[in-house]
Symmetry: C2
Subunit: 315 residues, 2 copies
């Protein structure tokens, strides 16, 4: 049996992953990119994937697990040839979790404490102190309370922020200081109250285009948006209109409809948009390799798989 490592990445990135995986999984047989013949295809027990080209995972008769090395599987699920009966697991990497919390925190501090504004003032040699509000006076709404959103919400709460979290999954009303909400009515109320909204929703058919003109109109005037999830959550023209009307004061965006963000895109030069180059949180092959190894061991010892994707739900 063999492990197939395949993805849309360059050879250097693939080889870096291979080196870390080989260290975490000594003694395994490896196939790279795609099986070259029927014998190799028959040997594939597990596919370790990074958004591989459509079709690569079909015709693998003994495939028992598809393990994504990326956290988001929205692109993977668009492959119509994805083998239906094979369990699919997404990556939950401690390094990525940590990085996402850091990015959310940096963006929030820049908005809450006015540091982004102060940086713009530096361009004009302008000495002007922003208002200093307490963390508990700053309402934060985290959308999505999964692995990443939940961690972000709890950390912000531990630092004193007034944190609500909204998700489509039922949760206890209070978790580590986070006020947990469900449903459209609660969402409307929370959007109207939040000074900063942080998006960490999964991308599914029901969350695509979530941030549109109607949603921006529900938000508190002058609030800010931090999008750390997927570009397709946001209608970019509606966001520009909301910023230009000062309905929103600022957006920190890590993800975009087209990535890399084209050089001519209006976001680059917008005074009230901070562009991050999809750098909020990357999977770290050093820690992710151990996560892959643990799931492989679970598979072989018939233990429950970690972070299994529910394909119907979309994450």
């Amino acid at each position: 049996m063999a492990l197939l490592l395949t993805g849309r990445w360059d050879a250097a990135e693939r080889d870096a992953w291979l080196a870390h995986l080989q260290q975490a999984l000594p003694g395994e047989q490896w196939l790279l990119d795609a099986p070259r013949d029927a014998a190799e295809a028959a040997a594939v027990e597990v596919a370790i994937v990074a958004n591989p080209a459509h079709g690569v995972l079909q015709g693998l008769p003994n495939l028992r697990l598809i393990q994504s090395v990326w956290a988001g599987v929205d692109k993977l699920l668009t492959d119509p040839t994805l083998p239906a009966g094979v369990p699919l697991a997404r990556m939950v990497d401690p390094a990525m979790n940590e990085a996402m919390v850091q990015t959310a925190l940096w963006a929030l501090l820049g908005l809450h404490r006015g540091f982004l504004e102060v940086q713009a003032q530096q361009q004009q040699a302008l000495w002007r102190q922003p208002e200093q509000l307490r963390a508990h006076e700053w309402q934060v709404l985290v959308l999505g309370l999964g692995e990443l959103g939940g961690r972000v919400a709890r950390t912000l709460s531990s630092l004193g922020y007034a944190v609500s979290g909204w998700s489509t999954t039922m949760r206890p009303a209070q978790q580590d200081g986070v006020n947990c909400l469900q449903g459209e009515a609660a969402l409307a109320q929370a959007l109207a109250a939040a000074d900063t909204v942080i998006n960490l929703l999964p991308l599914t058919e029901s969350t695509r285009g979530f941030f549109n003109a109607a949603r921006f109109a529900q938000m508190k005037r002058g609030a800010s948006l931090v999008n750390l999830a997927r570009g397709a959550h946001v209608l970019e023209a509606d966001l520009l209109a909301a910023l230009d009307a000062r309905q929103l004061s600022h957006a920190v965006l890590d993800v975009f409809t087209v990535e890399p963000l084209p050089a001519e895109h209006a976001f680059w030069r917008h005074a009230h948009i901070t562009v991050l180059p999809h750098t909020a949180a990357q999977t770290d092959p050093r820690s992710a390799a151990a996560v892959v190894a643990a799931n492989l061991q679970a598979l072989r010892s018939s233990q429950p798989l970690a972070h299994r994707v529910e394909r119907q739900r979309g994450y």
Copy 2:
């Protein structure tokens, strides 16, 4: 008996303080700015001060406490007429503590995660992801482990950073994950290892000019400096030379030799300096008024005063 409120501030700021102090201390007699005659001078029991003009605090025969509303008393102590026998207390304000932690964290995240660099890239529509290191791979050295430095160090440690703290006061070797250091040899070693140095030392005769060419040369090549203490800790010309030689990669500065930073100052336009307008942490009159009230009560009930300044030591 009366309370004298005096400082170098405008009437609006003074009146805001007075309103909060009157709420925290109902039924007190108040004098503003300076006593107008000998009877008023004799009535002053406590002076609540914000760097008042030199001489204002002399000739108050019944003065029992000088309570600063600012955390730093270095300017206050330069008044040669400051009554020698009267206890002096500085401000330790929960809002200020919280704000300082936030600012240190924002600056550190910007340096560690490359967000400051990413913001500069946005000016050129440049999509380039910085390297993502784990927090534990980033060595932070906090100089000064008092009320502010101690909190900053502990919070950074709780978020996973590798934190050392250096101070002139003996402390346990480990405190909440912070590796506590003393002495010149340990300092040299810690400076050579730190990726980011955060200055929260008190300004005294022995720390004035602390960051000079020799000190920058002791630092790890490419390290960064965050100065949240006093402008006089840093020799500005030496800092520019260290940045221009790339010995230091970046400086985040909240305090300057002359404030507001003059419009023609080289710091404003330096690509590797982030200028904050002395906004890292301000005393919040809402919470500070309660601190003043508690110390006044301690004085009147002969309990120990909080945050008493040792004048010899300078803080």
